[in-house]
């Protein structure tokens, strides 16, 4: 079965420290990978995507993500966390020729 896993329900980071939110996937075919963020009482906002090319993708608000094909991972990173980064983060995968997204369960990021 095709799936996306975010192994950590919650990640706690001190402000100013680097942060990583993990995402691994198990799909057949070429994946298109996405990260979204959800602030309290809001819908999801697109952060970044990997389609092809450079494995390091830069996105909004200083976030970046690294695609690792051998480890089937797409971890979200930021060099220096801000309190305002506190939110719920979702990883998602879309397959070739398919509009549907496969979603991870979400990771709550708390910056203090």
């Amino acid at each position: 079965a095709q799936s996306v896993a975010q192994p950590e329900d919650q990640v706690n980071v001190a402000e100013g420290n680097p942060l990583t939110v993990k995402c691994t996937y198990s799909v057949s075919g070429n994946p298109y990978l996405f990260w979204y963020v959800q602030y309290p009482n809001r819908g999801l906002q697109f952060l970044l995507k990997y389609i092809t090319g450079d494995n390091l993708v830069k996105g909004s608000y200083g976030f970046e993500a690294e695609f690792n094909k051998s480890q089937t991972s797409f971890h979200l990173k930021k060099p220096s966390a801000l309190v305002s980064d506190s939110a719920l983060y979702f990883c998602a995968v879309r397959l070739d020729s398919n509009y549907q997204l496969i979603w991870g369960g979400g990771t709550k990021l708390s910056i203090k």
Partner: protein
Amino acid sequence: DVKVTQSSRYLVKRTGEKVFLECVQDMDHENMFWYRQDPGLGLRLIYFSYDVKMKEKGDIPEGYSVSREKKERFSLILESASTNQTSMYLCASSLSASGSSSYNSPLHFGNGTRLTVT
């Protein structure tokens, strides 16, 4: 900026009522989606539409129907609301460009409707 507007932020309905959730997008997107979001379950796709009058079932269509009479509007209908349909409902849209690039298009979400069925 793309704007996806959901008509209600909070809604309280009684069991058995017919409920309409409305969603409008202003960017001429072909694709529109309805998700529900529940703690611990993430996002689950209810229905999506890739064109006017077209609809496709998602992962959890039971108890729901949809209507897309105009390109900018996608309605979710709960035929007879039940307490297990208490949830956050999210509408989204995306561009359908030609070829494979359509699958690269990110989703644009509304702010959600929190529905409580009592």
